[in-house]
Amino acid sequence: MPIVLATISRALESPPGIWDWDEFRKFLFSRGVLEGVAITIMLSVTAQIAGSLIGLGLYFLRRSRFIVFRGFANFYIWIFRGTPLIVQVVLFWQIFPFLRIGNTLDQAFNFKAQFGLTNEYFVSGLLGALLALALNEGAYMSEIVRAGIDAIDVGQLEAAKSLGMTYGQGMRRIVIPQALRVIVPPLGNEFNSMLKSSSLASAASVLELYQVTLSYGRATGSWITFVVIAIVWYLTLTTIWGFIQARIERRLNLSNIDPGQISKIPWWRRMFGAGIRDTVAPETPEVALPVNDRR
């Protein structure tokens, strides 16, 4: 025990460059760091939305009766789940210069002049990272979408059809709204991951939160300080998201449960997704049936 305490007190007195309270206070809310946080949020939200739509598209491709579409979807998923995300980020970053449109993109958006940036292919990096994150997320989301839609009883689509609705109307109005309740909890986890894996955009020189703190650390030599700044911000983002997710889940379940019941669950349990499992009413009472006579 004395050895541990001695180590800690020595660490806190360690020379500037490793840990520096002043630097921490100065940079936690500095413009550069806040811009990094903003880019992280923007990147994650955009990639998650795009990835979810890609996942939905992949679901329908996989359900297509044309083998070409099914094959494409399976190939896509095989590629994006079978290679590291960081490799995909670098690939899509470099694809624009490779196609000889890297500089064109930079000039078209003119961010470099506007923000006095020096790194080449800045727009390529941002677009490439966004593309890689979204395409990669799509591969994982397709699995989640599939589980969500398949969880809905086929009788729901049949009922919709029997009322004269088309497949599209039935999916849009009846099946997908129900599937969303199944999809939201894993989708929330995906976005939590996304907030963190967006840091891989740093591999494409995107000045998101991690890259910003990394470069400050490199410049000042005060590595731990800036790693802690990154930790504080990532934890803030994921914690806020945890609250938002719990709210969304409760809203989606309102129709199935007594409104009075929700407030009985303590907030700290709701935050960890207790709402759904604890309060959802069974859809239809299970009744012992004779063998389902479908023949």
Partner: protein
């Protein structure tokens, strides 16, 4: 009764001709011929696996058929005849339009659990027929009153008993103003004490002149309400007749054995 403005034919409501259906090489319908007149109530009976549910699902094109034709009010169901005389599956819009004239009531109700009773009923009229909300809601309240559930308009299905759910499902089907109602074992998933309320709703519908084809094991209902009882066995119609004839004096040995087992 016809909401699509087409002319009703003078022929039978249902005209099934030589309907064959295979499941995985297994022939479950072996040439069904059946005519149901307008306003008639027909009850299909038969053991599990006899093909009665499958046939009902074919009438609504929830199942494809492998041979034969089914006409509902003179319209070919699920298929269309090309100018060259070939029979091909109808496109989705056309199938959907023809289905919208046929109400289907499922064994397991299949209400939409994310919608209230009222929303369940107005969904299809608004989406499919483009009925305005106030009009659709007024009609829905009318139908809920008819099935005795107007006070449950804003309840979600999970809050309703099985019998109430099935009555909402009937109201939902009626909201499309169907010419024909198909019932697939509508009371089989219900607790015994809830069967009566659903059967009464169906009986009322029959008395109003609705054409109905009902698959059921409720022989009391068949006896009282049906104009005709059809006994299916192993994918064919083995015997048919009036309820008195079928229950009091069945001709076929199989029918006798089935009725003896079930009554």
């Amino acid at each position: 009764m016809n909401g699509n403005g087409q002319q009703s034919s003078n022929g039978p409501m249902v005209d099934a001709q030589d309907v064959h259906k295979y499941f995985h090489g297994n022939e479950v319908l072996k040439g069904i011929n059946m005519r149901v007149a307008k306003g008639e109530v027909v009850v299909l009976i038969g053991a599990s696996g006899s093909g009665k549910t499958t046939f009902l699902r074919c009438v609504n094109h929830l199942e494809k058929i492998d041979k034969g034709r089914i006409y509902v009010d003179g319209e070919l169901i699920g298929y269309q005849v090309t100018p060259g005389g070939k029979v091909v599956e109808a496109n989705e819009m056309e199938s959907a339009r023809r289905r919208s004239n046929i109400g289907f009531v499922f064994q397991r109700f299949n209400l939409f659990p994310h919608l209230t009773a009222l929303q369940n009923i107005i969904e299809a009229p608004m989406q499919v027929k483009g009925v305005a909300r106030p009009e659709a809601e007024a009609r829905a309240h009318e139908l809920l009153k008819k099935v005795g559930l107007d006070q449950k308009a804003d309840a979600y299905p999970a809050r309703l008993s099985g019998g109430q759910q099935q009555r909402v499902a009937i109201a939902r089907a009626l909201a499309m103003n169907p010419k024909l109602m198909l019932f697939d074992e509508p009371t089989s998933a219900l607790d015994p004490e809830l069967v009566g309320e659903v059967l009464r709703t169906m009986q009322q519908l029959a008395q109003e002149g609705m054409t109905m084809v009902v698959v059921t094991h409720e022989m009391g209902f068949a006896r009282e309400v049906a104009n005709r009882v059809i006994f299916l066995h192993d994918g064919v119609i083995l015997e048919e007749g009036s309820p008195e004839q079928m229950f009091n004096n069945p001709q076929q040995e199989r029918t006798q054995a089935f009725l003896k087992a079930i009554l």
